[in-house]
């Protein structure tokens, strides 16, 4: 059975710059793939190619077995898109937004009235069905955006930073929805800047930097490969000796956060560090995706 999404060797130039450079990405049913990377890594451009906004300069994209470049309209029947910004139709009510969106698909969803009612109920929007979307809170707007992306029963859902700007409670509400959709068999491509969100929701991560895939796998694998097994957090103030220790190992200056250095190290390096600085006060913690972003941002 082919993957729901199978993108290979994607290349895209924008403004004379190679923004995406040979990216491969795949997603199966009932899988959430997190697409991560610092700003300018090529995430949005990749995503926009995957859901048909942009045409790749090279490479191929298959959605549900249909090549996007050959039959975009048919391929898009299997895709639901929740863009980062709210793009609901402000001229219509919440309920009408769902039914209007359905009119942009062929074949039209059967039993549309029931489908709309079901989505309103499921996304806790029934009480706002006759309200205009702009009257909703941020969390409910996101719910409407996701519900709209699902009205035609797609098999693959793109969520572009779905919880940006939401309060913690609303974020967790969206997480529950994503969990539920995965359990129903949807394939989901998720981009986010929230590391806890990526770790919590994604079955697999693909990390982009400067338009290329620099790591893929589970969060643990990606972090181990790109960051290290541990991170030493040490005060940067009296850090000359630590800097010298790093330089001796061919390492540059580490990421600095609020006056503290965050030094990714292997298990062996941690033991060496402990021997080298027996009296120094420092903290050792596991790596997070924040460390990964810091590392990728600092990379030349």
């Amino acid at each position: 059975m082919p993957a729901l999404l199978d993108a290979r060797s994607l290349v895209k130039h924008l403004g004379g710059r190679r923004v995406v450079d040979g990216v491969d990405l795949a997603c199966e049913s009932a899988q959430v793939v997190g697409l991560l990377g610092p700003n300018g890594a090529g995430k949005t451009t990749t995503l926009r190619m995957l859901y048909g906004f942009l045409r790749p300069d090279a490479g191929s994209i298959h959605v549900n077995g249909v090549e996007l470049g050959r039959d975009l309209v048919r391929a898009k029947r299997a895709i639901g898109v929740c863009t980062q910004d709210d793009t609901f139709d402000g001229d219509f009510t919440v309920e009408q937004n769902l039914s209007i969106a359905a009119r942009y698909f062929r074949p039209r969803p059967t039993d549309l009235g029931r489908r709309v009612a079901e989505l309103l109920e499921r996304f806790d929007l029934a009480g706002y069905a006759r309200e205009k979307p702009e009257t909703l809170s941020g969390g409910y707007r996101r719910r409407l955006m996701i519900a709209r992306a699902l009205v035609h029963r797609p098999r693959l859902l793109f969520l572009d930073e779905p919880t940006t700007g939401l309060d913690p409670q609303a974020r967790m509400g969206v997480w529950d929805l994503v969990d539920g959709l995965r359990a129903e068999g949807l394939g989901i491509i998720l981009t986010t800047h929230y590391m806890d969100e990526a770790e919590r929701l994604s079955d697999a991560l693909t990390v982009l930097a400067r338009g290329r895939v620099v790591a893929r796998g589970t969060a643990k694998t990606v972090l181990g490969d790109l960051v290290g097994e541990h991170v030493i957090v040490v005060d940067a103030g009296p850090g000359a000796a630590v800097a010298a220790w790093l330089t001796a190992r061919g390492r540059g200056e580490p990421a600095s956060v609020l006056g503290a250095w965050h030094v990714p190290v292997s298990g062996e390096e941690l033991a060496e560090f402990a021997r080298a600085f027996p009296t120094l006060r420092y903290e050792v913690r596991g790596p997070t995706l924040d460390d990964l972003f810091l590392k990728l941002s600092l990379a030349p």
Binding site: L72, R77, D89, G90, D91, I100, Y104, F105, R106
Partner: protein, 267 residues
């Protein structure tokens, strides 16, 4: 020619359907402006200016100014409605409401959005012309104008065709103006002069304007309406409307698509 095929595809009709649904929500905002506008214009140009002009010559015979203006009003409404809908209406949907982006996340493609806007501008223009036609019938019954209204509905399709071309022109400006404030430039430099210098409200005899109007679909539309309603040549002007509108569409729709692809999709 896929850009042309998109005009006939269901997605373009779905976009038009969406605009129509929004438009018809309020009957008073939908029907009052096109009904009141001709009354205002006829009062201002016809009764006001007409009081000084009294009558002028059309096809070698004297015609009351009110009667001369009325067909021009139909052409002017076709032009202005299509241009303003595809200029301000489309810009607001593209930039502020982000309606286009929402549509593009579905099976609707940019070519459908563009054709949807062009066709909607034409549908709305034709609806306006139909409503103004009813107002003219009322004015005729009141004895204020003297027109031969039998063939008026037969000219509505000409309004539709011309409005498609005008819609494509409006979208071209939508594609290139950086902000809504910059809309004043095409409006005052092109739209208003074109609207007024096309023999809509007064005849033009300056040789340069006469020559320019030969390639102006609005001029031909005004003359076709006038020919049918007052008496005069119609067929040649209708051919001018169809030919020049087709030319506008053939040049501007692919150009609009190219410019809007860059602007909306960043491609």
């Amino acid at each position: 020619m896929s850009w042309l095929a998109a005009a006939l595809e269901w997605q373009s009709r779905a976009v038009v359907g969406r605009h129509l649904r929004v438009y018809l929500r309020n009957w008073y905002t939908a029907f009052l402006p096109p009904a009141l506008e001709p009354l205002t214009m006829l009062l201002a140009f016809g009764a006001g200016l007409g009081g000084y002009v009294m009558s002028l010559t059309w096809q070698g015979r004297p015609v009351e100014y009110m009667t001369y203006v009325a067909p021009g009003l139909l052409a002017y409404a076709t032009f202005m409605t299509a241009i303003f809908q595809s200029l301000f209406g489309a810009f607001i949907r593209m930039r502020y409401q982000r309606t286009w982006e929402g549509q593009l996340t579905t099976q609707v493609e940019l070519s459908h959005v563009v054709w949807g806007e062009v066709l909607w501008a034409a549908v709305l223009s034709t609806m306006y012309v139909a409503i103004i036609s009813l107002v003219l019938v009322a004015l005729q019954a009141a004895g204020l104008i003297a027109l031969d209204l039998r063939w008026l509905p037969a000219l509505w399709p000409a309004s539709f065709v011309a409005a498609c071309g005008f819609g494509a022109l409006g979208l071209f400006f939508t594609a290139i103006v950086p902000t809504i404030d910059h809309m004043n430039l095409p409006v005052f430099l092109i739209v208003l002069p074109m609207g007024l210098l096309s023999s809509t409200y007064f005849p033009l005899e300056h040789p340069v304007l006469v020559a320019l109007n030969l390639i102006n679909p609005l001029y031909h539309l005004a003359q076709a309406f006038r020919g049918a309603l007052i008496g005069g040549p119609v067929a040649g002007h209708l051919a001018g409307v169809v030919g020049l509108s087709a030319l506008l569409l053939a040049i501007l729709v692919p150009l609009d698509l190219r410019l809007l692809r860059r602007r909306v999709l960043g491609d």
